[in-house]
């Protein structure tokens, strides 16, 4: 009777409501889409339902088959999920990933004029579900595409919450990167006219066709739809929960500004496109952790990490914790062969072990100060480094080496709050 999709007339308290039954999250309620488009809920108790027929409801995935234009570059799109490929489930009202990411291309017809885009979808998950295994898998997909001679570059679509972690992971996992990799997301879902992912994707494809050979996030540069900024994958963070321009460069300026028409302005030195195969080093260790220190925090937490290979402590200011209570347990971890790295929760600036005695003492006991590397990047890097070697000397050496632009040689005067 109250089957989803049925056309019905419901009588309730002197009113008649004609429409189509939708899936209701409440067992005691008929959710009805009226002829005028409004959804209303009616209590089942007291409702008289008359079935008028069946209706077809739901999104038809109608999109034109992708035809190749020989004059256009080939760009591979790898879809992993997130808002950018989400759509509204009209039956439940919830937001779900698209089942066919090619639908996304149907929404942005401009793309057809910019590149031939092939789509693969190794996964479709919200980005908070991402872990090391997903990073490995995505890295494998990206490398396979990049190593095809006719592919100019890759665009990865990703949920924004942890997009910057994956950007760092891909930066480390793709050794000898010779082509561009853009990671794009959206802060507004694709069902709305104000979908921001459309421009991000267009600019991402422009980036993938550029001469920059770096992993970069490509999202809005401002609240306006005027240009995107490409930020180096190891130097970027989501600094706002909901704004379009949430992804900001940290301790640096963007690699480039990219406009809708394809104009690309470089703003920093970057590695350039060259020939050469990319090596995938996609093993990540998950026995590593990132801990945020806060005033009054008990060092007991460190006991949880005794069987870990390494931890990054996001300390205060220049890289501090309360040495009165923390120095001993940290020293014990290091003695057990656990790597301990220090970054700052200030986001901007460099940690420094020499300014205060606290830092000196931590550093003297083996805590490795990670300069201006972002905490998130340091965590991902540590996970990757332990994926490559278990030799602590090598780990330490790799952690302080500038492998993928994760360290700034000099602190850029314009970088703060860019």
């Amino acid at each position: 009777m109250s089957t989803v999709g049925n056309k019905v007339k419901i009588k309730y308290f002197g009113s008649e409501y004609e429409g189509i039954i939708l899936e209701s999250s409440d067992k005691n309620m008929h959710l009805l889409k009226l002829i005028n488009g409004y959804n209303v809920g009616l209590p089942k108790k007291g409702s008289k339902v008359e079935v008028l027929g069946k209706s077809r409801i739901g999104l038809k995935s109608d999109f034109a088959p992708l035809s190749k234009n020989k004059l256009l570059p080939n760009v591979a799109l790898i879809s992993t999920g997130g808002t950018i490929v989400s759509r509204v489930d009209y039956k439940t009202g919830a937001v779900h990933p698209m089942t066919k990411p090619r639908e996304l291309l149907g929404k942005i017809p401009e793309l057809k004029k910019i590149a031939n885009i092939s789509v693969s979808a190794p996964m479709s998950i919200f980005s908070e579900e991402m872990n090391q295994e997903h990073w490995s898998k995505i890295a494998g997909f990206v490398a396979r595409e990049l190593n095809k001679d006719d592919v100019r570059g890759v665009v990865v679509t990703h949920g924004t919450d942890t997009l910057h972690y994956t950007a760092a992971a891909l930066s480390f996992a793709l050794e000898g990167l010779s082509k561009p990799v853009a990671i794009v997301g959206g802060q507004r879902s694709s069902d709305r006219g104000s979908f921001d992912g459309g421009m991000n994707l267009i600019c991402g494809v422009h980036y993938a066709n550029s001469d920059i050979a770096e992993v970069a996030t490509v999202l809005h540069g401002t609240s306006s739809d005027d240009y995107c900024i490409a930020n180096r994958g190891t130097k970027v963070k989501k600094l706002h929960t909901s704004k379009r321009d949430a992804f900001r460069p940290i301790n640096t300026v963007p690699l480039a500004k990219i406009y809708l028409n394809g104009k690309l302005e470089k703003h920093s030195k970057c590695k350039l496109r060259h020939s050469g195969k990319i090596k995938v080093k996609s093993k990540f260790e998950n026995k590593v952790a990132l801990i945020k220190y806060y005033p009054g925090m008990s060092p007991d937490i460190l006991k949880c990490y005794e069987d870990y290979k390494g931890i990054i402590i996001e300390g205060t200011g220049l890289g501090h914790v309360a040495t009165t209570t923390w120095l001993e347990p940290i020293t014990n971890l290091i003695k057990k062969g656990i790597f301990v790295g220090m970054t700052s929760q200030a986001n901007y600036g460099r940690v420094d072990p020499y300014v205060y005695s606290t830092g000196r003492s931590l550093s003297n006991h083996g805590v490795v100060y990670l300069e201006d590397m972002l905490s998130e990047t340091a965590y991902v890097k540590l996970s990757w480094v332990f994926g490559q070697t278990n030799n602590l000397e090598k780990v330490r050496h790799l952690m302080v080496s500038n492998l993928r632009g994760e360290y700034s040689e000099k602190s850029h005067p314009n970088a703060f709050l860019y």
Binding site: N36, G37, Y38, N39, V40, I57, A94, G193, F195
Partner: protein, 475 residues
């Protein structure tokens, strides 16, 4: 014109802004003329609706490929209006007002209300949709030509204000975006332009009776749907002046008749009414595929117990009748019944003071003083009026001193300080002073004597009393 023979059918849609904060943010609903703090430039794209179809009206707008420029004022705009943050839960005050309106319009109220996104991509909504929800259906009002059925009562966000446009871009100001708007739609059974006018006025009166709606230009807007035999429905948008309805309707009927005579299809379009009562094509009529649920907000369960306990306001018409009985004339009754000061008026009349005097002070004297002193953004507090009239009722001041007291109050003095100077003179003292004046100006005519006495008494005595004494003395 004989509207009966041409198959004339008309319905109206009334949009009324509520006098509350915005519907889904907590920003003030305040329009501004200031220089914007920021400008944001955006594009919008057409999207598929729930049924998998792209709304025809939406496609029409996307094809224009315009830039939309938004003027942002920090005083009345948040990230919700700039489409940079999810909406907050619906404004409870606005919800209570629409429940009240639904009851006044004899509507059934929807038990579970789902907020919808109505696709609007002419740029007037930063998100590309307008948040809207159906609250009431199946109501009615009585008119001189019978019952007019109310199809729906809807609560929605007002759109952004169009400020300017050129070939490539339209500029909107975000101050108006998100102000709660009640949309009331009648069933298209209105007989003729007079009936449209009467219905619109009655609904307007009911809305104003709540005391919670905005007043002034642009705060209420009417759309009229018109069809005649052989054609479909045409929506005329932006009928600002209800008095022009006759001309607008007749002009549109003639246009439809001309089109039909040339075998052209009529209907399915929205037209914009111009100042000369003609109209221009605006866009195709939107379809139901433009609606889908607002996924960022939960379904609202209607609390019928609470709705039934809402105390319904007295309708302005009933109030006016009451004031006529108090002895006010037609004009004054109507003025004070429509005024937001009717509450204060009711309180003051209880003191037994002449209602004509109260109305004059509340509506005219206050305006005159403000005009004279060039005061625009301030008005007398209700409490001031009540306290002042209480003093008058207790004979602590005289009615002739009221304008002066009011004027001094605007300058920051307290009522207590001011009234010290206006203590009425006792009858015996008054007799003495007036006798003196008459004695020393014995050559003056009566009128001039009264004038002189009043000036000298500086509002501390009742004019009538003074006149009476003078008349007796000069007999």
């Amino acid at each position: 014109m004989n509207y009966g023979t041409i198959g004339f059918k008309a319905g109206i849609e009334i949009h009324q802004q509520l006098n509350t904060n915005k519907l889904f943010s907590r920003c003030e609903s305040k329009l501004t003329k200031d220089v914007p703090d920021t400008l944001i430039k955006r594009k919008l794209r057409a999207t598929k609706g729930e049924s998998g179809k792209i709304d025809i009206a939406a496609v029409f707008e996307t094809e224009k490929n315009l830039d939309y420029i938004y003027e942002v004022h920090n005083s009345n705009t948040s990230l919700i209006e700039t489409d940079e943050e999810p909406p907050l839960e619906i404004n409870e005050e606005a919800l209570e007002i629409i429940y009240t309106v639904c009851r006044l319009l004899n509507c059934n109220i929807i038990p579970f209300i789902q907020i919808m996104r109505k696709t609007v991509i002419d740029g007037s909504n930063t998100s590309g949709f307008q948040r809207t929800c159906l609250v009431g259906t199946d109501g009615y009002i009585d008119t001189s030509k019978g019952k007019v059925l109310i199809e729906s009562v809807i609560l929605e966000e007002d759109s952004a204000r169009r400020v300017s446009e050129d070939k490539n871009a339209v500029t909107y100001r975000l101050d108006r975006l998100g102000i709660p708007l009640i949309e009331i739609t009648t069933v298209p059974t209105l007989h003729d332009p007079d009936h449209i006018k009467e219905t619109a006025e009655k609904i307007g009166m009911i809305l104003r009776s709540t005391g919670k709606v905005k007043r002034g230009i642009g705060t209420i807007r009417q759309d009229v749907n018109i069809s005649i035999s052989g054609g479909g429905r045409v929506e005329l948008k932006g009928v600002q002046e209800i008095s022009a309805i006759h001309k607008i309707v007749d002009t549109e009927i003639e246009r439809q008749q001309d089109e039909l005579a040339m075998n052209r299809k009529v209907g399915g379009e929205v037209r914009n009414v111009k100042a000369d009562a003609t109209s221009t094509f605006l866009r195709p009529m939107p379809t139901s595929s433009r609606m889908y649920p607002e996924t960022d907000l939960p379904i609202i369960q209607t609390n019928f117990k609470k709705i039934n306990s809402i105390k319904l306001p007295e309708l302005i018409l009933a109030r006016k009748e009451r004031y006529l009985k108090l002895g006010l004339n037609e004009e004054l009754s109507s003025m004070i019944a429509n005024s937001s000061r009717n509450d204060v008026f009711d309180k003051i009349t209880k003191t037994g003071i002449n209602p004509v005097l109260i109305t004059t002070i509340l509506l005219s004297t206050s305006k005159e003083i403000k005009r004279k002193l060039k005061i625009t953004s301030w008005s007398f507090p209700d409490k001031f009026y009540i306290d002042m009239f209480l003093l008058l009722a207790d004979s602590k001041i005289t009615k002739d001193s009221l304008p002066e007291i009011m004027e001094r109050f605007t300058k920051g003095e307290t009522l207590e300080e001011i009234t010290k100077d206006y203590k009425p003179i006792s009858d015996s003292e008054l007799q003495k002073i007036v006798s003196e004046i008459v004695k020393s100006n014995s050559k003056l005519p009566t009128g001039a004597l009264i004038g002189k006495a009043m000036t000298q008494l500086a509002g501390r005595a009742d004019g009538k009393k003074v006149a009476k004494i003078i008349v007796e003395l000069t007999k």
